[in-house]
Amino acid sequence: MAVLIDLVLLSMLALTALRIIFLKDLFAVVMLFGIYSFLSALIFINLDAVDVAFTEAAVGAGISTVLMLSTLALTGRKEKESKHSSILPFLVVTVTGAALIYGTIDMPPFGDANNPIHQHVAPRYIEQSPVEVGLPNMVTSVLASYRGFDTLGETVVVFAAMIGVLTLLSVRRKEDDEAPDSGLKSHRVLHVVAKIIIPFVILFALYVQFHGDYGPGGGFQAGVIAAAAIILYALVFGLPMALRVISPKFLQILAPLGVLLYASVGIYSMFMGGNFLDYNKLAHDPVHGQHYGIIIIELGVGITVFAVMLSIFYAFASQAERRNVS
C-alpha cells in the first residue's frame, strides 16, 4: 500500500515538474510550484520523515510561494519566448541524467535495513537518544543536542540571509505611510475570518514550538508558522497595519537575539566546565540539563526564524506596494 501511494505521488510530482517546463505564464508556474511543494511534503510523510514534511509544507509551500508572488508583482507575469534552441540543454540534461541513473544502479536497494547508511551513527541515535536525551522525538534530539553545533551554524546562515535581503531591498519608510493602500479592503468576510483565526494560528505556533520534543515540530517550524500568522494579517489588512503591529526595527533586534540566546547556552555550558553546547552540565542531572538546553535553543531558533522570515516578507511586500503606488 505504501509503495502504491508512493508511486502515485511520485508520478504526480513528475507530471507537475514537466508541466512547469512548458508553462510560459509565470503566475501559473508559481502556483504549480506550490503544488509541487505540497506533493513533496506528502512524499516525505510517506517516507516517515514527518518533521521534514512539516517544514516543507510550512516553508516551501507557504513562504516560498508568497515571496515568489511578490517578486512577480514587480517583474511581470509573462516569460518571453526564448530565441535559443532547446536542443543543447536537452542533450546536456539527458546525458547527465543517464550518468546519474547509471550511478544509482550501484546504490544499495531502497528501504533495505542493512544499507550502509543505517549501520554507523543511526543505531546509536535510535537506541541511545531516548535514554541519553530523554525525548521521544529523535529528530529533535539529534537536531538540538547531538548536532547542536551544526544547527547553530544553520541559524546563523538564516540570519545572514536576512542581512543580505535587507541590504538589497529596503523596508517601507515612514513617509510612505500616507500612500493609499488597497489591501483586500472590499473583502469584508475575509477581515472577519482573519481576525478569528490569527490568534489560533499563533497559539498553534506556540504548541508546535513546545511540543516539538514529543511530536513533529520544533523551533524552525514554529517560527515559520508564527510568521505566517502575521503575513496573513499583512495580506488581509494591508502592510502598514502589520508594520504598526510588529515594526521592522523590532524584528531587527529580535533576529540577533535568537542567535545570541542559542550561542549563550553554549558559552554558559563552557563556564560550567563542559564543552561548547554540552547540555549535560546545565543541571545536576544530565537528562534534565539536556531538557533545559533543548528548550532554550529551540526557543532561540524559533525567535530567529520568525524574525527573519517576517522581515524578508516585509522587504518584499513593501517593494510590491511601492511600485503599486507610483
Partner: protein, 88 residues
C-alpha cells in the same frame, strides 16, 4: 476497516489527480486557483486518512499546517494578483 481506509486513500488520490489536472490545464487563472485550492483541501483529508491507514495517527499536526498554508497561499495569490497585469 483497513480495506475501507485504503479505498478512501486511493479515492482521495484520484480526486487530487483530477484537481491537479485542472490546475495544470485551466482556461482562466481563476480556474487554476480553484484547482490549487481544491488540491490543498483534499491533501489535508489525505494526510488525516493516511495516518490512520499507517497506524500512526499522531501526525495530524501536519494536516493543520497544510490547511493553514493552503488558506494563506490562496489569500496571497488573490492579493498579488491585483498587482500583476493579466495577459490576454
Amino acid at each position: 476497516m483497513i480495506g475501507v481506509l485504503a479505498t478512501v486513500c486511493i479515492a482521495i488520490l484520484v480526486v487530487m489527480g483530477l484537481a491537479l489536472a485542472r490546475a495544470c490545464y485551466a482556461d482562466t487563472v481563476y480556474d487554476r486557483i480553484l484547482g490549487v485550492n481544491m488540491f490543498g483541501t483534499k491533501t489535508v483529508l489525505f494526510i488525516a486518512a493516511v495516518g490512520f491507514l499507517m497506524g500512526r495517527p499522531d501526525f495530524l499536526d501536519i494536516a493543520i499546517v497544510y490547511a493553514l498554508i493552503n488558506f494563506i497561499g490562496m489569500i496571497a495569490v488573490l492579493r498579488f494578483f491585483e498587482y500583476i497585469a493579466p495577459i490576454e
